[in-house]
């Protein structure tokens, strides 16, 4: 099967000559959930602008489902890849939510009924039913974030790119958005590529992680990435608190085979571990425990 995204040796320099992307290689299977992490200013936004052909690379090194994105017609391109940028005010440029969400479908040349159906569906997906006539400027930040997502969903893209979807949101709005993204991935098979800094929320959104710092520094499951403290520190990252805590648990004698990253995972890991020990887990403190613990904490500390 064709890869959803395949980027091969992509280079890009800003007009002033600064290198923004240096030999970037990324491969994403259909239906995967990818998170891209990296320090502020690592080139994430530039990479995303390549992914939907806004910045065009002439050598066909960005392929979506096998076709070079630079060679696609606009109408086809927006059916394949939708990008939700970080700042919602930049993406809601029309005077009503309806017009904003209808903007993409109208450019695709769809019929008025089809546009109406898609706007309705997209707004329902993000939980903004009844917001059609609202003026974006008067909405809360969380609502704007959802509307900006709806304005991309209405094009029904097969690949969804999101830049910092949860930044600045209160925990409830954040949980809402994560749920919407995961539902799209699970129920509609949408491939998702997300840039985010919040390592504690990452586990829910990533099958696999790429660490980008001008070039791809590392790739692997979240577990692979976070298990390497040197990699984590060198790229200004951090590991989730629970992940670090389970590494610490080992020093107390908890021999878990896996290190969980989310609450749900940690319950599973605990249960498995206790059950494999015939129902009883002993945690102890010995003379080495604290030096081992401090070592782990120090290895991740910036």
């Amino acid at each position: 099967m064709k890869k959803a995204i395949s980027i091969t040796s992509l280079n890009y320099s800003y007009p002033d000559g600064t290198k923004a992307l240096d030999d970037v290689n990324i491969e994403v299977e259909q239906g995967e959930k990818i998170v891209i992490m990296g320090p502020n200013g690592a080139g994430k936004t530039t990479l995303f602008l390549h992914l939907n052909g806004i910045i065009r690379s002439d050598d066909g090194n960005v392929k979506i489902f096998g076709s070079s994105i630079g060679d696609m017609k606009v109408e086809d391109r927006i059916k394949e890849v939708g990008v939700v940028f970080a700042e919602p005010d930049d993406q809601l440029f029309m005077s009503t939510v309806y017009d904003d969400v209808a903007f993409g479908p109208l450019n695709m040349g769809l019929s008025e009924e089809e546009v109406g159906r898609r706007v309705k569906k997209a707004l329902a997906t993000v939980g903004l039913e009844g917001f059609e006539e609202r003026v974006p400027h008067h909405m809360s930040f969380g609502q704007k974030k959802k509307a900006a997502l709806a304005a991309v969903l209405s094009m029904e893209p097969r690949v969804l790119i999101l830049d910092e979807p949860t930044a600045n949101l209160d925990p409830k709005s954040k949980a809402d958005l994560i749920r919407v993204i995961n539902d799209l991935n699970r129920n509609e098979g949408v491939t998702t590529v997300i840039a985010m800094h919040d390592v504690n929320a990452l586990a829910d959104l990533a099958d696999r992680v790429y660490v980008l710092n001008r070039t791809i520094v590392a790739e692997g499951t979240p577990r692979d990435i976070f298990s390497d403290p040197v990699l984590v520190k060198e790229n200004n990252l951090d590991a989730p608190d629970l992940f670090k805590f389970f590494k610490i648990m080992r020093c107390f004698g908890a021999d878990c085979s896996q290190t969980p990253m989310s609450i749900d995972e940690s319950v599973t890991v605990m249960t498995k571990m206790i059950e494999s020990l015939e129902g009883e887990l002993y945690l102890t403190v010995d003379e080495n425990t604290h030096s081992l613990v401090n070592e782990i904490i120090a290895s991740y500390r910036h």
Binding site: I78, V81, D90, Q91, M94, S95, F103, L106, N107, V152
Partner: protein
């Protein structure tokens, strides 16, 4: 700074609100153009009364409307004071050697009344239609699409920039800045304005990215659905008729 949100009461229901937005724009503009050039003070007063009548019909709270009219009228007011002295003609009386002329007083009041009439009409027109509907009517009136779209975006981003501006200003005042006529203030204002323009351009860049990623290629497509009803035609006929009557009445006075 307060938001100049003129369509705050566009959701009310009145004859004027229900008036087809395209017909409304054309008729009201026509009324403004014909009333603004009336030369007879008596007729001008009648048109002012008429515009007030239309305002009453629209059910827009008068307090809100007068509040919105204030800046425009304050701008015109000095001329009401200056013209009696400035325009030459029959001297009514003199203060400290300055002559107040009949023509000056007449013309000053005339200009003021006409300005008030046109402002009231314009505000009633804009206040009874939601801004996006006004813009869409411009599309369907065959105003060039790029122009309408630029206007629409300007409208959308004026608020964003005013917010940005207020935020920058707040940050400055919270550092003890007071605007004075001195070099420091001037250089700060220059930098603020520069920053605002740079940010406007950068915002435009990002808006453009998000438009392109939604398939925008420079063509604008919008759904516009308006249908003229019988009542709309009647209202057009009524308003245009009134304008004609005023015009003819004025001519009969000459």
């Amino acid at each position: 700074m307060k938001y100049p949100e003129i369509d705050k009461y566009a959701e009310l229901d009145s004859v004027i609100h229900r008036f087809d937005p395209r017909a409304k724009i054309i008729t009201f503009t026509l009324l403004i153009f014909s009333f603004v050039f009336i030369e007879n003070l008596g007729v001008a007063f009648l048109t002012l009364l008429f515009s007030f009548f239309i305002l009453l019909l629209s059910k827009i709270p008068l307090g809100f409307m007068f509040d919105r009219m204030k800046p425009g009228l304050i701008f015109v007011f000095p001329f009401l004071v200056i013209m009696p002295f400035a325009v030459e003609g029959n001297v009514l009386f003199s203060i400290y050697g300055l002559n107040i002329t009949y023509e000056g007083v007449y013309y000053g009041i005339l200009v003021f009344v006409r300005a008030a009439t046109s402002i009231m009409f314009a505000l009633t027109m804009l206040g009874t239609t939601k801004m996006d509907v006004t813009m869409k009517s411009l599309y369907s009136l065959k105003v060039p699409a790029p122009l309408v779209q630029t206007l629409m975006f300007s409208y959308r981003y004026v608020f964003v920039f005013i917010d940005e501006f207020i935020s920058m200003w707040t940050a400055m005042t919270s550092k003890g800045f007071k605007l004075k006529a001195n070099k420091h203030s001037l250089s700060v204002v220059g930098n603020i304005v520069g920053m605002l323009l740079v940010r406007s351009c950068e915002r435009a860049e990002r808006v453009h990215h998000s438009m392109s990623s939604k398939g925008y290629t420079g063509e604008s497509r919008t759904i516009v659905k308006f249908k003229m009803q019988m009542t709309d035609y009647c209202l057009v006929a009524f308003l245009v008729g009134i304008a004609l009557i005023f015009k003819m009445y004025e001519m009969s006075l000459l």
